[in-house]
């Protein structure tokens, strides 16, 4: 019943929206996200544990993504080093290139690039897969057949992405540093030992811990966003496409937001 259709003398109709229609939708969506996350954290601790599915998802998310992410990381290492050189050359400080590459790749580029590529590849795959399962009512069928679809589909994928994105980040970081070394060696004739000495001289344990924590959070975000979007996709083929697209966009957006917040926290810890 619309508010403008109330007639004088009759009891006022109940308000349809708490705030506005759009705001109410956002809050409802947030509540759904909260419930989805809460359900994950409830179900992850209790059996049955779907190890087989988790391994399968780890293979799909981690091993199958390795060539793409490694190649991207290697190219980024070369390009970043090459683009940074002129700025340092202005100060006659090209010998500081390894330190610059180290700080940039280990602190930011490694986890971020890995997460963004994984969001594009893995997030969209999870969203599309779960969306199509929702559209074809396979999830409903699993519920009917006394199988917990959330545990089988969501928990396994989120755990796999949470575990595999940090592993991919390690590979990406190493390969990016090797790419940087290749460029530095070509131009400055720096040896591998000196390069890695300078790389580790510029960083601290906090940088490694921060990078690892970030990649875990990014992995969880990618898995959770993909699963949420796919698990709650609307019916129809259009819903599958929307779920896949929305998974990528939302995951990337959240990754940048998280990067910003984590950076602030880490800087505060470093200053302390």
């Amino acid at each position: 019943m619309d508010l403008d259709k109330n007639k004088p003398g009759t009891a006022p109709a109940r308000r349809r929206y708490v705030t506005t229609r759009r705001l109410d939708r956002i809050f409802v969506e947030l509540a759904k996200v909260y419930r989805f996350n809460a359900r994950f954290f409830r179900e992850v601790w209790f059996p049955p544990y779907e190890f087989k599915e988790i391994i399968k998802q780890c293979y799909e998310i981690g091993v199958r993504s390795l060539p793409l992410i490694s190649l991207t990381g290697f190219i980024i290492g070369i390009v970043f080093t090459n683009q940074s050189r002129p700025s340092l050359a202005d100060f006659g400080a090209t010998s500081l290139l390894p330190a610059l590459i180290s700080v940039a790749i280990i602190r930011a580029i490694g986890p971020l690039v890995t997460a963004l590529i994984a969001a594009g590849r893995v997030g969209s795959a999870i969203g599309a897969e779960l969306g199509s399962m929702r559209v074809t009512e396979q999830i409903d069928a699993m519920e009917v057949s006394a199988t917990n679809p959330f545990k089988f589909l969501v928990v396994s994928r989120v755990l796999a992405s949470t575990l595999m994105i940090p592993a991919l980040t390690m590979f990406t970081t190493l390969v990016s540093l090797l790419g940087g070394y290749l460029n530095v060696h070509q131009n400055e004739l720096t040896s591998l030992s000196v390069f890695f000495y300078q790389v580790f001289d510029a960083i601290t344990f906090l940088d490694i811990v921060a990078s690892s924590v970030k990649s875990v959070i990014f992995g969880f975000t990618i898995g959770m966003v993909g699963c949420y979007k796919g698990y709650n996709s609307s019916k129809g083929t259009e819903g599958v496409g929307k779920a896949a697209n929305s998974s990528v966009v939302t995951a990337m957006f959240l990754i940048f937001i998280e990067e910003l917040l984590i950076m602030q926290v880490i800087n505060a810890i470093r200053a302390f």
Binding site: V63, M170, S212
Partner: protein, 355 residues
């Protein structure tokens, strides 16, 4: 579990293992580089200013990295206590009188602490010891001095600009020297003169060298003065005589001074003659009277010669004188001598006065 699932599991395991290996290798490399896996001792130093030093920065000794900064704490009113972790194996090389200073790994690089100094007489440093801190060269101070230098440089270049401008315009001596050809020629002449002078000086120097060489020869005076005792004794006697002569001269000088002082007084004849003006006027008047008297006497004598009473006397006198002269001439020379004019033998009292 099917073989495909098994293979997939193994691959995932290898993948995860490799990722963990990369992480662990990185952690151990970092720990090794930051000296976290070796036994260390803790050493402190109190600085007035740590210039941006941070926890984890390196500690160097003789160009070798020996530890890291463990903590940085404010100390006292405005000082800073820096705690350093130093490798235990280098403990024996660092002495208690070593000093720590804050340095920089490069111009734009991280700060670090450099430990230097320390003598072998001092004991090796121990865990918990505090070493002397040397205040670092503050970048702000450095920049301030650089700014002062820049200002001085600007002033110098400004002055130099004015100077060169005046030189170009031909102002001043140097400007004229550069532009005025006449002055340049004069200057060239001056340089030539200088060259000649220097050549003369060189010749003089050579002569002086030869002279001194002669002086140094065994037969030379200087050498004899130094070595010959007889010459020295003669010289000593001469000096004694010279001293006596000097004493006599002093006595004479004293007598002269006394005489001259007496001449300045009027209590003696010469003093009156020299100093008394009245007497001088009287004497002048007397002399004038005397001159007048002699003139009149001259006239009287001339009149007397003309007198017939005395004319014979004067003639005889003239003849006797002529005879004496002839005799003298005949004795000295046989030739005939003309008799002298008798008028020359005339007695003139006025000439006597003039002489």
């Amino acid at each position: 579990m099917s073989s495909a699932d098994n293979k997939r599991t193994v691959i995932v395991g290898i993948f995860t293992f490799l990722a963990i290996v990369i992480l662990v290798a990185g952690i151990f490399t970092l720990a090794g580089q930051q000296k976290r896996l070796i036994s260390t001792i803790s050493v402190t130093a109190i600085f007035d200013d740590v210039a941006g030093l941070r926890t984890g920065n390196n500690v160097w000794f003789s160009g070798v990295k020996i530890g890291t900064i463990k903590s940085i704490n404010l100390y006292g009113d405005s000082q800073v206590e820096v705690v350093m972790n130093i490798e235990e194996k280098v403990q024996q090389y660092i002495r208690k009188n070593a000093s720590a200073r804050i340095s920089s790994e490069s111009f734009i690089g991280n700060k670090n602490i450099v430990i230097d100094g320390g003598t072998q007489r001092a004991a090796p440093i121990q865990d918990g010891d505090r070493i002397t801190a040397v205040s670092p060269l503050n970048t702000d101070d450095l920049m301030e001095k650089l700014q002062q230098n820049n200002e001085n440089l600007v002033a110098i270049t400004g002055d130099f600009k004015q100077l060169t401008s005046r030189l170009v315009k031909g102002e001043g001596t140097v400007g004229a020297l550069l532009t005025d050809t006449t002055m340049a020629q004069n200057f060239r002449g001056m340089v030539d003169n200088l060259q000649r002078t220097s050549e003369s000086t060189a010749n003089a120097s050579r002569s002086l060298t030869a002279f001194t060489h002669k002086l140094n020869s065994p037969d030379g005076l200087a050498n004899q003065l130094v070595t010959d005792k007889e010459v020295f004794q003669q010289l000593k006697n001469s000096m004694t005589q010279l001293e006596e002569a000097t004493a006599s001269t002093s006595e004479i000088t004293e007598n002269l001074r006394t005489a001259s002082s007496r001449l300045n007084n009027n209590n003696n004849a010469v003093g009156v003659l020299l100093n008394d003006q009245d007497f001088a006027r009287k004497l002048q008047s007397t002399m004038q009277n005397l001159e007048t008297g002699t003139e009149k006497l001259d006239q009287n004598m001339e009149a007397l010669q003309s007198n017939f009473l005395f004319r014979g006397f004067f003639r005889r006198q003239a003849k006797e004188q002529a005879k004496q002269k002839e005799q003298q001439q005949s004795q000295s020379a046989p030739q005939q001598v003309q008799p002298k004019d008798t008028t020359q033998l005339e007695f003139k009292p006025s000439k006597l006065i003039e002489n």
